[in-house]
Every structure is written in structure tokens, then in C-alpha cells.
């Protein structure tokens, strides 16, 4: 890419400005505020005191946190991988369908968004209800004990997380697959490659951008899950989001809640910046991409 002229640069700036402003006002400033509050002392009445302290940040060494952080990371990673696993074939199928079928499939992926997120989670509660049809059927088939509950365990949390985030994985995968030149797969097969290997070695690397986007778009919001583990999770299924809510609503300790959510932000932003830096590093020596 050639470096743009001065005028070109200005146009570039003008075009970026609205989204940049949006990001600064609605993301950077609030994040910095949250970070700042985590260095303030809490007051017993639930406010934020004056002065600065390291007490709260040091309190993050709470021995119960590693378990919750690990559970949050693990559940989010599992969600992201399962979403990719199911999203890939769907995206492939959509990209290879006729235009008409494409439109219908795309609509089917998007239709659930027309219903409130909360209502869809409550629908799962009905589906998994211990006196419900599904449970009765499983119990009749001898798969579960008659008094067991399908809900309020980690499996239920994972199930509903995957259900919620699957469309977010399908859409970027589909966008990437749509741009992919399927002639390459045919070429690979003409050269004697088995279809499955052709997909694995040609199609998947070809849509790696889409894969990376899908991974991030699922993993990052899953890290911040609060409602799902709250509604279908059991007594031992807390995620970091639930802990933050407890700090705000029960303990009335805003600095501690801020410190926890800063931790979450740092955990998300640092690897992403590192990835970005790595990529830039890789591109630069050659000069041309």
C-alpha cells in the first residue's frame, strides 16, 4: 500500500472520526473511569470514597477468585469452540446454496433475534423443566433419574451459552465463506485431493479471518456472561459476571466490582493487542502484504 497524500489522510481521518468519537465516549472514557474507581476506597454506605488506595486491587488475591476466573475462561473457550464446530458446516452450506436458499437460511439464523434474549433464556427453562416433556421423555428412556433436574448445572449453562452465541459465530463465518473462491477446492480435488482434505487444507485456511472473528465475537461476550449462569446455572456455577453483580448489588462495594471488571477488560484487551502487534510485526519486514 502506498502512503496516502495529505488530502487523502484528512479524508481518512474524517471518515474515521465518527466511529472514533463513539468509541472514545462510550468505551474508552467509561473503561478509564471504571479503572480509576478500582483505586478508590469504598465507603460502608456503598459509595466511592476520596483518596487513592491499592487495597482493592490487592484484594483481588481473594482465594476464591482463581476458581471463578478459570471457570469463566473455560466455559467461554468451550462455547467458542463448540460454536465454531457447529457454525462451520452451516456457513459452508449457506455459501454453497442457491441465492433463494441463502436468503431463507440467513433469515432463519437471524429470526431468533426478533425475540428478546431474556425470553429465549426463559424458554430454555420451560424446555428443561423437571416436570416438562423433555425431562419426562429422558426419564422414561432411563437416561436420567426421575427426580433429577436438567437445569442448574454447568452443562445447562454451556448449552444456553452455545445456543445464544451460535448466530454470532455463523454470520462472520458465512461472510468469509461467501467471499471464498470455491474453485480452489475444485482445483485441489482435480489434483487428486480427497474432498474432506481439500476442505481442511484449502477452505479452512481460506476463511481464517472469518474463523478468528467468530472466535473473538463469541469468546469475548461469553466472558462477560451474567444473565445465563444466573438463570440456568446452579449454586456452584458462578462466572465472573455474577461475582461483579454480587459486589455491586449485595456487598455495595463499587471499587471492588470495578477492580474485577478491570481485570476482565485487561484479560480481553491485552491478548488482543498482543495479537495485533504480532500481526503487524509479521507484515512489516516484507513491506508488502
Amino acid at each position: 500500500m502506498t502512503t496516502g497524500s495529505k488530502a487523502g489522510r484528512r479524508v481518512e481521518w474524517m471518515l474515521t472520526l465518527p466511529s472514533l468519537l463513539w468509541l472514545v465516549v462510550l468505551f474508552v472514557i467509561p473503561t478509564v473511569l471504571v479503572l480509576a474507581i478500582s483505586f478508590r476506597p469504598p465507603t460502608p454506605s456503598g459509595g466511592v470514597g476520596d483518596g487513592w488506595t491499592l487495597q482493592t486491587v490487592l484484594a483481588l488475591r481473594n482465594p476464591s477468585y482463581p476458581v471463578i476466573v478459570w471457570r469463566t475462561l473455560r466455559l467461554s473457550a468451550e462455547t467458542a469452540l463448540i460454536c465454531l464446530f457447529f457454525g462451520l458446516p452451516v456457513a459452508y452450506l449457506m455459501a454453497r446454496s442457491s441465492d433463494r436458499a441463502k436468503r431463507v437460511l440467513l433469515l432463519l439464523v437471524i429470526v431468533p433475534f426478533w425475540t428478546s434474549f431474556l425470553i429465549r433464556i426463559f424458554a430454555w427453562k420451560v424446555l428443561l423443566h423437571p416436570e416438562g416433556v423433555m425431562k419426562q421423555a429422558f426419564a422414561w428412556a432411563g437416561l436420567v433419574a426421575p427426580d433429577a433436574s436438567l437445569m442448574y448445572n454447568e452443562g445447562a449453562v454451556l448449552l444456553v451459552l452455545v445456543y445464544t452465541y451460535l448466530p454470532f459465530a455463523i454470520l462472520p463465518l458465512y461472510a468469509a465463506a461467501e467471499r471464498f473462491d470455491f474453485g480452489l477446492v475444485d482445483a485441489a480435488m482435480d489434483l487428486g485431493c480427497h474432498k474432506f482434505r481439500a476442505l481442511l487444507n484449502v477452505f479452512i485456511p481460506g476463511i481464517s479471518r472469518g474463523l478468528a472473528t467468530a472466535l473473538v465475537v463469541v469468546f469475548v461476550p461469553a466472558l462477560g456472561s451474567y444473565v445465563i449462569p444466573d438463570i440456568v446455572g446452579g449454586p456452584g456455577g458462578e462466572m465472573l459476571g455474577n461475582k461483579i453483580a454480587q459486589r455491586v448489588f449485595v456487598d455495595r462495594n463499587l471499587p471492588h466490582a470495578s477492580a474485577l471488571s478491570s481485570l476482565l477488560t485487561v484479560a480481553v484487551v491485552v491478548p488482543m493487542l498482543a495479537g495485533l502487534a504480532l500481526r503487524r510485526h509479521r507484515v512489516r519486514p516484507g513491506g508488502v502484504k
Binding site: S45, G46, H129, E131, S149, P235, G236, V248, V250
Partner: protein, 347 residues
Amino acid sequence: MQIRRALSLVGVLAAVAIMAGCSRAGKPVLHVFNWSDYIKEDLVKVFEEKYGCRVVMDFYDSNETMYAKVKAGGGGYDVIFPSSYMVSIMHGEGMLMPIDRSKVPNLKYIDPDYTRFTMDPGSDHSVPYMISNSGIGYLKSRVPEVKSSWGMFDDASLAGRMTLMNDMRETIGAALKFLGYSLNTTNDFELAEARDVVIRWKKNIAKFESEQYRNGLASAEFLLCHGYNGDVMQVMEENDDVGYVIPEEGTSLASDDMVIPKDARNPDLAHAFINFLHEPEVAAENTAYIFYLCPNTASYKLLDAEVLEDPTVVLPEALLAKCEVIRDLGELNEKYTKVWDEIKAAQ
């Protein structure tokens, strides 16, 4: 451009504020912030007609959410219904207006037996609204051998179908009562014992839940739940199979009070509303509907025997003596937070 946008935003906000001040019909408006299902709606209509005003109600699900919103300057409410411990916090922060006793003549009916459960027995800045207790709601057909004891949560045959409240003071308090301690203790050994009891109970429960247990009981998703008396009895209205017991070891009593925030726009109407809810007929009708006891002596005579003799609404003397109100412990709340964290993290 940013400044212009900011200015126009201020303009919009000012317009909203002005519109909020006077209603479409020019009637005065009373803004009420209350718990859900905590007042008989028909009584609000009676009040609106009597005073030629409009009542706008918003709802909250915990004292803390309410506090956060009001503290941040939100709402512009005239009457709020916090629990006693929250009343003392808000009073400490200088957020409440003193009650003008001359505007609330019905204060004379307040039952002195119950004012010990409030933090403001003289009704200086709050007026008691309802007395509630926490206990155990259950399905009669599924739990025929129910005992009035917190020990029910040790019953492994109900594993996965019970809930404890997702409220550290209520749930740790239940364990403390089970062990025979005060639910306001700050003794580390007693708290550690209570922690181990809750961790034992945790193995048997489906989840910690303070809201959805009502639907859960109604639909037989849960068979036995730790909950508030009025909430469970409202479910009973829908489902005859639901029962409620107060554990004999004692439990927590709470007084939810009515307060007027300092920045109320309509303090006169707010006083009138508080006074109205303590009219003996109104108080009796309200209690009979929401199944919480309004501590209003003149209203007791108007209550049906069914309500008055219900030991879960009007507690017997001996049981009442074992009950306590949850007090705000200030900095010592941290002890409960620490125990609650340990309970939540335990495997």
C-alpha cells in the same frame, strides 16, 4: 458540534423534567418506587380519585438496586419502600426528608409491638409499611413430611429441587438460627460454623434464588424454597398445593418502611399517600390482599379471622421472641461477605 449536541440534550432533558412535573391533564403526579406485588393496585386507584392525582409506580427487586438508582440522582421519587436497614443507611447519607407528623395523623395506629423491628421507632423519617418474615415454602403433595425446621435443607431426598435465597444475610442468617445463634452475630467461630452448614446445604439445593422461586414453586420446578411469607402466600392463591412454615428455630423479620426522599417533588402528596395507607380500612384490605402484616392496630379488628389467626402472618408470641431483624453491620458486613464468598466458591 459536540457542544451543540450537549446543549440540545440538556434541552430535551429539561423538557422531560417539565413534562414529568405536571401530567397531561394537569393533575399532580405522585412518583412511587416500590417492590413488585407489594400493594393492592385497586387501593392506588382509590387514592388517585380521592386526591385528584395520578400515581406513577416503578418497581425494584432489591434494596441495593433501589439505593444505587436513587443515590445516583435517578427517578425523582416521592415515596420509596426500603427495608429498615436501608432506611438507616439512607438516613445516614442525608437522603431522607423528616416525616411531618401533623400530616400523618394515622401514625397513632402504628403497633408499638412492631416498632422494635424498625431502626426508627419514633417515625422521625420513616413510617412502617409491612412486616414480613422469611421461612420455607413447599409443595404439600411432594413433601408430606415437612418439619418446621431449617434442617429441611439437609434432606437429601429433595436434592436438586430446593432453593435457598441468593441473599447472604438471609441464607447465612438461616444457618445461624439453625445453630441457635443470633443472625446479627459478628463472632468468627459462629460464622464459620454457619458457613459449614450452608456449604452442606448447598449440595442439596438447585440454586441460590431470591426471585424466581415463586414461579418455581407454582410450576413444581422446586419442591421446597427459602422465601418470604407474603411471596409464598401469593403463590398459594394460584396453587393450593403450596404450604408455608416458619422454622421453630426462629427466622428473620423485616419491616419495610415508607420514606420520602429529600428531593421529592410532591412532599404533601407523599405524606397524604403514607397517611392513606395507614387508614385502618385501607391497611386491612392491603394486608388481606398481599398477605404481609401492616402493623396498624386499628386495622387488626377489620381483618378476617383467617388472616388474623394465620400464624405465618401474625406470629405467635413464643416464636416472635426467637425472631430478629437483620441489622446493617456497617464495616463488619465484610465478615458476611467473606463467608458468602467462601460458600459460593466451595465445591
